[in-house]
Symmetry: C3
Subunit: 324 residues, 3 copies
């Protein structure tokens, strides 16, 4: 029994890396993705390990039942706190990550677990999962708090002459757009890299080839929506930054609903909707120098999964998705 | 039976124009209002027709039961997306409405229906209607998204010398204030015009003379609240922009509650409350160049209708308001 | 019976001053605190009396049952509208409080009661109290509305040379930090004064010595969190402005939960969490010149009390906390 628990712990430990993005409760998927993160961004990989360890400790301290822990409920948002903070910190604070930041991340992870449990209680009545909202809330507080603490080094924005930029754009490089669709998978962890993206896609492939194809198509739809809702230069689209919310939004609907042609259409609509929300919220978040995280995915999916579950006659929610 | 359905479709088609403002499920009301909108702002009228057509198609595609469609549940917010976007676009984007904008509006309408169904599920537990929240959410995303796409032409604000303006004001023209109260009815569709306003009031009169008088009194109360919470010049008050949230807020309480002297007092309090929220949120929304839409009406009414339903002993909610 | 009611009215009248901060339903606590507020800030004391009177009248007009009134449900947020507006108005509007402001406060109090009842209905399903959210919502609308009305006198910010300030700080005066912990108790009413703080602590001591010690420790934890999340100069910490949310957050958990070592740990975590939220939201609120009020306390406590109630096995919610 102890061996069994030991084995289960390892399985769980790996699962939580796959859940936030792949909606896959499979240790092999988790292993692929964790390796991918480590290859493309070692800091993000270290963040994932650190924060998932803290999250498990917190859940044990709170006396959470083992089966909840092993379903990853308490810590899959924590993994994102680790990878996203480690990956985005240099760009948003204009300096490399310092040792003290890991301490802040560890403390934020404890609260991420608490927020996740609290939100689950509030959401439980509507039968809607909390998605990655605990991560979004915690990461927002962490980023704004670090700004208030004075970690952000101000940079003169002289090197972005807006008008010149506007005149030279308008040409869309379609090859780069498709490359951006591929990068979307890794960007769900805020990691920009082709290895991480391919290993993430392989991780989902292990669970469900259909989910992999549909989600990739969701990322493509997201990027086309982004082209329709933004103006050049399209560097962010080429980097996959505009695809990950649509990628997640598609995977989420098809994970929770029995896949039919109508739910697939709804999943792709969710991708468009999430990307539209992303386009509209980015300037609002920029006023506080905050990245958009996965808020667009969460907002769109709360509404459309609620709709899908209760309002569409003839469609069915998957009985026991076990996660997340 | 087919003739019946055909007749019902027309009735429904007209009803949805009356519901978002009049809370009237009456085709004649809808006809009056649609004519009023077309006379004062043909673009807004075309937007109403376009978006209601798209909304019905979306609802049919989703397999919504006929009676829900014919109760207007799925599309009365869509009508507002059409009229408000068409009416406000020129002022907020500093250019006339282009053909491509109609395409964006049509796509936004699809999401408006989805958001409306999703929100209904989330709100159903509290027995609170979604009011025009689907419209508010969709229109916010649409306006912010169109800004991000670069449709907004920046204008030098040289022609509004703030200090000169402040020195010449302070005189309230009471005739214009009363005229503004009348215009409030049309401003609920973002249409500024006396014909549309009078036809809207006639549309409600057809259903309930009492509701008409109370709601007009609600607009008067809203405008006096606005005088107390804003500083001159009062052009916006004269144009009815400060009255429509109070107009809607009053009509909404008296539509859902059995009218008594106490619920009428509450309805007028709701008008004051909605207008106060409008005064406080306008500067917040202006930071993102966003109109206030009917958020103040929705926020005030969610709280006060919740209160009216459950907490006041001796008052009663109308049994079956059928809409909205 | 009439004497009994008379006596009960007085008890209730005093209780409501103690409830919003002490979570103490004890007239003696209320008396201590009201005296403390009057000594340190007579305007805030007058605001407390005015707004609680208006709140009781509103509740009676609405026909609220006596036992709800006497449990303070309808008016403890109103007390805060009175004290906080009166105390913060001079600093946020750069002028002394004018007679007309009392009229605005009185009207805001009516809406505070309505908002409180409405929110209670919405929150009742989750078995989560509304805390001081009615106060936060009402005070936000009041402050933003008064700004829109033109009461705010703009001040040149010449006298805060940012860079000079940044260079001279970094030394923490630990004595002042501890003094700030003491001042936190009074700052829950936005009153900065040692008399008010000591009388508030005595007021809680009358009810529960354990709650007093734990809550004071919560304020200490909050101030240490603030040191970790802000950069000097630390004047606001010395003034108790960073401690009151943690003070309230700790008291709240220990009031609603049966105190154990684990709930005490959770209460202190709630203090850290509330203070982190305060650090992150202050710059966001500052964009609209809005004080943070007790939003951080409310947000943190909604999540962590929800968690504490439902998710932690072996812990128990207090059966009948009667308030708030």
């Amino acid at each position: 029994m102890s061996t069994d628990l030991y084995k289960n712990s390892w399985e769980y430990f790996l699962c939580q890396y796959a859940i936030p993005v792949c909606f896959a409760n499979n240790p092999l998927s988790g292993l692929f993705i964790l390796i991918g993160i480590f290859i493309d961004d070692p800091n993000a990989g270290f963040g994932a390990l650190l924060c998932s360890f803290i999250a498990i400790m917190t859940a044990l301290f709170l006396g959470q039942p083992d089966n909840i822990i092993s379903a990853g409920l308490s810590s899959y948002s924590a993994v994102l706190v680790g990878t996203v903070t480690a990956a985005l910190y240099p760009a948003f604070f204009n300096q490399p990550i310092q040792p003290i930041i890991w301490v802040y991340m560890a403390i934020a992870t404890i609260f991420c677990v608490l927020v996740g449990l609290g939100l689950s209680v509030l959401f439980s009545q509507s039968n809607i999962p909390v998605f990655t909202l605990p991560f979004n809330i915690t990461a927002s507080i962490l980023f704004l708090g670090l700004q208030a603490r004075g970690f952000k080094i101000p940079v003169d924005i002289v090197n972005v002459p807006q008008e010149v930029v506007n005149s030279t754009v308008s040409n869309v490089d379609w090859g780069s757009v498709m490359y951006g669709c591929l990068l979307s998978a890794g960007q769900a962890y805020a990691v920009e890299g082709v290895t991480c993206s391919i290993l993430t896609l392989i991780g989902i492939l292990v669970c469900s080839p259909l989910l992999t194809i549909s989600s990739f198509a969701g990322a493509v739809i997201a990027n086309f929506t982004a082209l329709a809702l933004s103006s050049g230069p399209y560097d962010a689209i080429y980097a996959g930054v505009w695809g990950y919310n649509g990628f997640l939004a598609t995977a989420c609907i098809l994970f929770f609903m029995v896949p039919t042609s109508r739910t697939t259409a709804l999943a792709w609509a969710n991708s468009m909707f999430a990307t539209s929300i992303q386009a509209s919220l980015i300037p609002v978040f920029k006023q506080n120098d905050l990245p958009i995280f996965t808020y667009p995915f969460c907002l769109a999916s709360v509404l459309l999964l609620g709709l899908a579950t209760s309002s569409i006659p003839g469609e069915q929610r998957v009985e026991m998705p076990t996660i997340p």
